[in-house]
């Protein structure tokens, strides 16, 4: 029952919204939590593609149009953790902001996250409005970064 809704919102479920809304890729191996975050983000006007692991996420972003605007990922995942995923993502989609969600709260992993180019680092339990604020901030910065690129 936990995976049902998230399947509905999987890559195939995205259609018209993509044309106008910002697309967020959500990666978390834990179905119930992923479903809730997707629901909240969807309600706030984002198109959400949610996937259970980093490998399929990387496969998806490879040649996707329109591109993913933002990535939210859980840190603890089987096979590839959030840091590795962030590094891979940076290689294949440079400039795409990434938000890392984790149960770890120590300063070392926070700094490590910022070092690998993570936009922000969120601790569990997640506070919805904080997540929404960071998402919009990240997208705004990406927008500005984009226009700068065009200018130069």
């Amino acid at each position: 029952m936990a995976g049902k809704l998230s399947d509905d919102e999987g890559p195939d479920g995205m259609r018209d919204a993509e044309l106008t809304a910002k697309t967020i890729l959500l990666v978390d191996d834990e179905g119930a939590g992923r479903e809730k975050i997707a629901a909240i983000l969807g309600r706030h006007g984002y198109a959400v593609v949610s996937l259970p692991d980093a490998a399929s996420a990387l496969a998806l972003v490879q040649d996707r149009t329109p591109p993913i605007d933002l990535v939210i990922t859980d840190y603890r995942m089987p096979n590839m953790d959030g840091f590795e995923f962030a590094l891979e993502l940076k290689r294949s989609m440079p400039g795409t902001p990434l938000i890392l969600i984790t149960a770890h709260t120590d300063i070392k992993s926070y700094l490590k996250a910022l070092n690998v180019g993570v936009f922000e680092y969120l601790n569990k339990p997640i506070i919805a409005h904080e997540l929404l604020r960071i998402v919009s901030e990240a997208l705004k910065q990406r927008e500005e970064g984009r226009s700068d690129e065009y200018l130069s």
């Binding site: 119930a32 939590g33 809730k36 629901a39 909240i40 309600r43 149960a103 339990p125 919805a128």
Partner: protein
């Protein structure tokens, strides 16, 4: 003679060219250096002159401005001006004149004027500090001009009637204040330039012998010198030079030249001068210095440079000359040698020499011993054929070589050292050494060497003869070796052994014998009569005469004897019990002596006493042992109880960590569910269906958490009694405790089961045993920073027993750790990280409580624990 005409000049043209090139290069370098220095100095002096000229001009301008200010200040008082006008126009009162005169006197005194007077428009003096000092015609003309322009002016330098050079400052005084102006008269301030202006001009800021500043002015076609000259007295206003003397700096200046010029001055001396004009005046300022003074330092330096160049060229010349000469000497010597070589005389001498040499050669060749000879450098000069045969080399390969070319390094080192020693102490040297044959075999030799001298007595080299002693050496070595072997054999036996001749005197003794008898060296015994030394007295103190001595008697008769107990005496006079044997020795069937062996039996005698004592002790011990064992067992049991408690506490700590990991995820989900509901509500999309679904999800999560905490609690409740339980259930439950922690450390956890396995025992304790092993594996994997960490659990049946095998890939356990891993309080973890009782408790539970076994072994890549119940 016949080559004389062929001697060419060795004075090669190259040498001359080299010398000329050197000289030119040095000369040019020197000249350039000199030139460069000169230009630098010139620049410096020029700057200095320009600065001085500017300074002087500025000072004169300042001075003039000050004087103009004097006049302006004096005439700035309206009351005074009114009085002056009165005096000029209406003759004025005597009182007025008196007051004005007083003011004039003050001005004259304080500002250093020669005289101050008031003149009317016609030039008549109205009020004057010095009556005699009335204006002359020239002055009047100047006055008229000043009044015409109604502007304060300076007169030029002029000589007064008294013959004093003066300078007048003439300030016109208008008849009326205001716009309509006609001059009524003028204030004339007379200045003596010799008091201030001349010294000002003449002073020079730096110390200089010839530097001077001139103030000149053009007068018709002449130049008039306005101040006193440094090198010509009474020149001011009297000394003139023609403007057409172009080289004169003053003339150049008057012709409009400015800046730096190099020319002759009024004395006809070459100078460097800076020229500039004094603004608002016809005056020109000339600052000049004699070139001779400027160039003195550079000339001095030029002297040095020249001296250096000359000495360098001379040195180069000498060097080239010397080389040339040396070449010549070599050349002539060669020439001479060539000549001598060709002479018949030489041929004859050579013939004789050859004969002599031949004889010597034959002589040396005939010596049967290998003979060689070397020069003082240690190079081989030659050898005889015996030497060639001995070393298996040809003479050709030897001559001119050093020892290092001919012999292996270890030997060559010796030869070289001995050779140099011989050269240091001329004479004869003989030593044993080794020589290597060309085929690599080595020969023991005696080398005898002697030095030979030149006619003047100096050492010319050495000659050596070689005696091969290899065979002799080998025989000697064999004897020595066998002797050593026997000695070694004798010395290494624990038994004391000595030999005696027919008189009873010691012929040999081994180390044990010397030691046991209390001596230090064998030679303390050798040659001594052993009976009188060690066997002279019985145990009870009565003498043991040699006639009755068993050992003596036996060997004299050619019999062996064994004495079970006797007494020998040590060097220090004490006695000890011995057991001894004597064997007669014969050579060629003739009795020559005996060999006696003996052992000290003090210990053996003592040991039999000791044994009795031990037996007694043992019996006593047996009686108390039972009680002590009982006490020890009780103590151990107490210890175990304590350990179990500690283990439980440690496990509880681990559990709390596990709960924290387990709950973080569901707490996050519940939080998200609640926030999602609120969010949906605010967006107006909260339907009852959606609410119900979310609540359902939340409850499921909460249910799961509740189950978890129950499991944890159950885990800590003691098993009351033995029961049959499913090992599959227990491992599932145990894994549910730890899987969050394992996942958090990215450790892959796998479980392989085939069938339901039932065990009789205590499920919670069994679970704890498994848990401890799992935690141990987790810690090892995390601490070892293992890549792709894995724990694999297999549950299977083996006969009628169950086996739970838990394997990790943390690299295995070191052998020294492996044997202690189940010991209580043994831990390899950092201080504070491990209690060291987890595995001990596991073993205790499985083996003591459940009659099973817990073992560990290393498998490829890691370790495997097996619980068999």
């Amino acid at each position: 003679m016949k080559n004389n005409q062929q001697i060419p000049s060795t004075r090669s043209p190259y040498l001359v060219i080299v010398f000329l090139l050197l000289a030119t290069a040095v000369g040019l370098t020197g000249y350039h250096y000199y030139d460069y220095q000169k230009i630098q100095l010139q620049k410096e002096i020029q700057n200095q002159l320009l600065v001085v000229a500017e300074l002087k001009v500025e000072q004169v301008v300042n001075w003039r401005e000050e004087r103009l200010a004097d006049a302006a200040v004096f005439l700035s008082s309206p009351a005074l001006l009114s009085d002056i006008r009165h005096i000029l126009i209406n003759a004025g009162t005597a009182e007025m004149k008196g007051e004005l005169l007083a003011r004039f006197a003050a001005l004259k005194k304080h500002n250093g004027y020669t005289s101050v007077h008031l003149v009317d428009a016609q030039g008549s003096v109205r009020v004057a500090t010095d009556r005699k000092d009335v204006p002359d015609d020239l002055e009047k003309k100047q006055l008229a001009e000043t009044l015409l322009h109604a502007k304060t002016t300076f007169s030029d330098f002029h000589r007064s009637k008294q013959g004093i050079i003066n300078l007048d400052l003439i300030a016109p005084i208008m008849a009326h204040a205001g716009k309509e102006r006609s001059p009524a008269g003028a204030l004339v301030l007379r200045i003596d330039p010799s008091l201030f202006l001349y010294p000002l001009i003449e002073s020079w800021p730096t110390k200089s012998r010839t530097a001077e500043t001139l103030l000149v002015k053009r007068k018709g076609d002449d130049i008039l010198y306005l101040n006193e000259l440094r090198f010509k007295k009474n020149t001011a206003l009297t000394f003139r030079s023609s403007l057409t003397t172009v080289a004169l700096p003053a003339a150049m200046s008057a012709q409009g030249n400015r800046g730096i010029v190099e020319s002759l001055d009024y004395r006809g001396v070459p100078v460097l001068a800076a020229l500039s004009a004094v603004p608002d005046t016809p005056w020109l300022m000339v600052a000049k210095v004699d070139q001779e003074e400027i160039y003195a330092p550079i000339r001095q330096r030029a002297g040095l440079i020249a001296a250096f160049i000359v000495s360098f060229i001379v040195a180069a010349g000498l060097g080239v000359g010397y080389w040339d000469r040396k070449q010549n000497v070599v050349f002539y010597r060669r020439q001479l040698e060539a000549e001598v070589e060709f002479s018949a005389e030489r041929k004859k001498m050579e013939g004789e020499l050859h004969e002599q040499l031949n004889f010597l050669h034959v002589l040396i060749e005939s010596i049967p011993l290998p003979v060689f000879y070397k020069n003082v450098q240690g190079l081989y000069l030659g050898c005889n054929s015996a030497y060639e045969r001995f070393l298996g080399i040809g003479k050709g390969a030897l001559v001119g070589k050093a020892v290092y070319d001919m012999a292996p390094k270890d030997l060559a080192d010796i030869y070289r050292a001995m050779d140099s020693d011989l050269f240091d102490h001329a004479g004869i040297q003989s030593y044993e050494s080794t020589m290597a044959h060309a085929d690599g075999s080595r020969h023991e030799v005696i080398i005898t060497k002697g030095t030979f001298a030149k006619e003047d007595g100096a050492i010319a080299g050495l000659v050596g003869a070689v005696t091969d002693i290899t065979e002799r050496k080998r025989a000697e070595d064999a004897v020595r070796q066998s002797e050593e072997k026997i000695k070694l054999l004798l010395d290494s036996t624990g038994e004391a052994i000595y030999g005696i001749d027919m008189d009873g005197n010691c012929t040999f003794c081994n180390a044990a014998c010397v030691r046991v008898l209390g001596y230090e060296r064998p030679d303390e015994l050798l040659g001594r009569n052993m009976h009188f030394l060690i066997h002279h007295t019985h145990k009870d103190g009565t003498p043991n005469p040699v006639e009755t001595c068993e050992i003596f008697r036996a060997f004299r008769q050619g019999e062996g004897v064994h004495i079970a107990e006797d007494v020998f005496w040590r060097a220090d006079g004490t006695d000890f019990p011995v057991e001894c044997w004597s064997f007669p020795q014969k050579r060629d069937n003739v009795m020559i002596g005996a060999v006696v062996t003996f052992v000290d039996i003090t210990e053996r005698k003592k040991n039999s006493d000791e044994l009795k004592h031990r037996q007694l002790l043992l019996e006593e011990l047996n009686e108390t042992l039972e009680a002590r064992v009982r006490a020890e067992v009780e103590k151990n049991r107490e210890m175990d109880r304590l350990m179990m408690t500690q283990g439980r506490h440690a496990a509880m700590g681990e559990m709390i960590g596990n709960i924290a990991h387990q709950w973080r995820q569901p707490i996050n989900v519940i939080g998200l569910i609640m926030q999602d509901l609120h969010d949906a509500f605010r967006h107006g999309s909260l339907t009852e269906e959606y609410l119900a679904k979310n609540v359902g999800q939340g409850m499921a999560v909460i249910q799961h958490m509740s189950q978890t905490i129950d499991d944890f609690r159950n885990f800590f409740s003691q098993d009351k009694e033995r029961q049959e339980f499913s090992a599959n259930d227990v491992i599932d439950r145990t894994l549910s405790f730890v899987e969050a922690g394992f996942k958090n450390s990215n450790i892959e956890l796998s479980l392989e089961t085939e069938e339901e396995i039932l065990i009789n025992g205590f499920p919670n304790e069994y679970s704890q045993a498994v848990l401890n092993i799992l935690n141990n594996a987790k810690d090892a994997l995390v601490e070892g920073k293992v890549r792709d960490p894995r724990v694999r659990i297999r549950l299977f049946r083996e006969g009628n027993r169950s086996v739970m095998a838990i394997a990790d890939n943390a690299g295995g356990i070191r052998p020294e750790v492996l044997e202690k891993i189940f010991d209580p309080y043994f831990t390899t973890k950092q201080e504070g990280k491990g209690t060291g009782i987890g595995l001990y408790i596991s073993k205790n539970i499985i083996e003591e409580h459940m009659a099973g076994s817990l073992t560990v072994k290393n498998i490829p890549g890691g370790a495997e624990f097996s619980i068999t119940v």
